[in-house]
Assembly symmetry: C2
Homo-oligomer: 439 residues x 2
């Protein structure tokens, strides 16, 4: 890792900063940087060229596709490289809606011909799923947005004859909550069997695995999904992504968003970004080989951080989605809990993420981060860093009082206990400055 053992190098400034925003982006692993560099020097040819320069680039891309596929237990031919997770998620929605429309038009009965596609999702998806749904598909499709409670059952209950797609993220970027996509996949397989007998459209299942990959093992067969979004820069890889499509083109439909030179078998044209693809492959290989270690290390350090937070802040701190909230009564929730021990582990969580809220009435999350000298963290998704947005937290069962007093601390593979101690002292001094007394 960059600056291994004490977080990524953050330039020459002193004092040393503590980066705890690994869910926003990760530094590139040294092995990844090396793969990108090597590819820039040695595999710069156009992968479509028939000559040797082209062949060398093709070989690099093939190797990377193998490595990405291996990481998620997929076949290489089921992986398409894309510019990133945003593109991949947009493509999935386009595929499902386009395929449903084609299917409708192919049906004999005219009642199908103008059927609006129906999509099921959650209220806590990343903007790269949420915004295409609200912008592009708001008129042409019906969308059901589900809360995070009882997700598998609620998803199944929401299925209609016109449902074409279920898209549920594998893990939430702000809270770290993990969703039981595998459970949905198993239940959906049964539903689809029945639908097949009834001549209904097979409901497609997508998961945006951006935040899960590199932190927990991800296997497409276990998940029983049709599409899975892969985002390099969330797992120490470069700023490109990939889309897994089960039985690409024959089992699961794929329609390109672009047309052009025929690259990626025509499903994603545009001259391949060989160096970034090489880097994505290398990052995937690292995950394939080490994800259990990454998981264990991050979880140990994250748990240490949460224990230390409780030690330092006592009842004035709350771990969102672990410690309970009263979303219906933020006023009541604003009083630090007394009495019985708090309820724990309501949801399974990513091993590296803590959504932490503080019970200081006059202090918001952004206030704390502005007064931190060392901690580099955020209040939620980086894309919302310059706006106020608590909707994900509130949809995750956090009351508005706590949501506005939350910071997200997301750890990396090499985050150390020493960094955690520094970070907590830094947060403590920030809050003390804000409240004008000791915590």
């Amino acid at each position: 890792m960059s600056g291994s053992g004490s977080g990524p190098s953050t330039g020459s400034s002193s004092p040393k900063r503590v980066y705890l925003d690994y869910n926003a982006t990760t530094p590139l692993a040294p092995e990844v940087i090396k793969a990108v560099e090597q590819s820039m020097h040695d595999a710069w040819g156009n992968p479509s060229s028939a000559h040797e320069e082209g062949a060398r680039a093709r070989a690099v891309i093939n190797q990377a596709r193998d490595d990405v596929a291996r990481m998620i237990g997929a076949l290489p031919q089921d992986v398409l490289f894309m510019s990133g997770g945003t593109e991949a998620n947009n493509v999935v929605l386009h595929c499902a809606v386009t395929h449903f429309r084609k299917w409708c038009l192919s049906q004999e009965s005219p009642i199908y011909h103008h059927l609006r596609p129906h999509i099921i999702t959650t209220k806590v998806e990343h903007d790269a799923v949420k915004l295409p749904l609200t912008h592009r598909y708001s008129i042409e499709a019906d969308v059901t947005y589900l809360g995070v409670e009882n997700l598998p059952e609620a998803v199944l209950e929401s299925i209609r004859p016109s449902t074409c797609l279920i898209t549920v993220m594998l893990a939430n970027n702000e809270t770290g909550i993990m969703f039981s996509v595998a459970h949905i996949g198993r239940l959906l397989a049964e539903v689809n069997k029945k639908r097949d007998n009834e001549g209904l459209f097979k409901v497609l299942l997508h998961t945006d695995a951006a935040q899960a990959i590199g932190k927990v093992p991800v296997d497409v067969t276990d998940l029983n999904i049709d599409y899975l979004t892969i985002v390099g820069h969330k797992y120490y890889g470069p700023r490109i992504g990939a889309l897994y499509i089960r039985g690409l083109g024959h089992k699961t439909p794929v329609y390109p968003l672009f047309y052009g030179g025929g690259q990626e078998r025509g499903y994603r044209p545009g001259t391949e970004n060989t160096p970034m693809i090489a880097g994505l492959g290398r990052a995937s290989l690292l995950v394939h080989n080490n994800v259990q270690d990454y998981y264990a290390s991050m979880k140990k350090t994250r748990n240490y951080m949460e224990r230390q937070l409780k030690k330092v802040f006592g009842n004035q701190v709350k771990i969102n989605c672990v410690d309970p909230c009263i979303p219906s009564d933020p006023e009541a929730c604003s009083v630090p809990p007394r009495g019985p021990k708090q309820q724990h582990f309501i949801f399974p969580r990513l091993p590296n993420t803590s959504s932490v809220s503080f019970y200081y009435r006059q202090v918001t999350g952004p206030d704390i981060l502005r007064h931190c000298r060392l901690v580099q963290a955020s209040c939620g998704a980086a894309c919302h860093a310059h706006t106020e947005n608590q909707s994900i937290l509130e949809a995750s069962g956090v009351c508005s009082f706590h949501a506005s007093r939350t910071i997200r601390l997301s750890l990396g593979r090499d985050t150390t206990m020493e960094e955690i101690d520094l970070a907590i002292q830094d947060i403590k001094q920030a809050i003390e400055k804000l409240i004008g007394r000791s915590v």
Copy 2:
């Protein structure tokens, strides 16, 4: 440059290869590689993050946007980074058609409400323009495909009340022919004034400048265009691109193809590929500072190559789009010309590109390249390297006899006369092997 003075390094194999396929892709300039590397180490933060890591990445992106804009004489705020030229071209078509439809629906008269958009283009565009037109817009739009003769006039004559977009490449990748987009721009400005008075839709003008940038000076004000496509890997930059949009969002319409986290002011969401953007900026700065030298150097070497080809092959060689063809009578054209001196410079050409055909009845372009030991070149676009495709040549006035016997030799900034001599000897031995005698 990589392997400066004698073409890019092509591995440890011997004998040394001569890369003459710079229109397919270029190696990365050493300065570009350095910028990408530096950014991977120092600017890996999420540019949307409010903390310092984010700020450092934003600064890199802002600098790159300035540099790209300066190269084409644009304002930085009129430049959007994209994954490549394919995406940029697809976005332009999407913008024009979407804006036209919105405009139609906003008109009082119902005759506009179902008007089909009309697009004017050439028969020689890259697949990243041609294929979206034939695939995505074949049903929902009318498209006029023009030959390359009398282009400005033919374009103007083809304008209809429903015309929303003219898209003409600045230079062709296979022949090197340059099109008078500036002339179209001037004439179109007059037409648009009249259309404005008549309450008609303003016709938008786009040029795909992928092959022109880095070889000839390109200035968006001179060109008088609304959209211009920029492709890094054609000018020693990385595998991303950018789209220039004159008066982005207020003068010229832009509608995103994706939705997501709001990056690039929401017009192109997705976490920014900072290292590649940094590299694109550096490549653009090099072009801004040196394009006149690049032009002069490439033209000198290319002209030397064409003279040497004539010396070695005499009347058995023809430079397409310079030496005349009889497209209507390929049989007549198959006889090497005798008599009067050939006509020259029918079209202005890129300084680095020669589309060369050989008069040996039994020998095709692919045959020659397969028997070359050193030359790394292609018969046309790299995207067609594995298929037969002569349509661009034939649409450029090359007869089918010569089209099938053509190889494209495209030179780089550092291609040397020594490499040219090696290449010509290599082509000579390939042809002699194929015809079983001296040329």
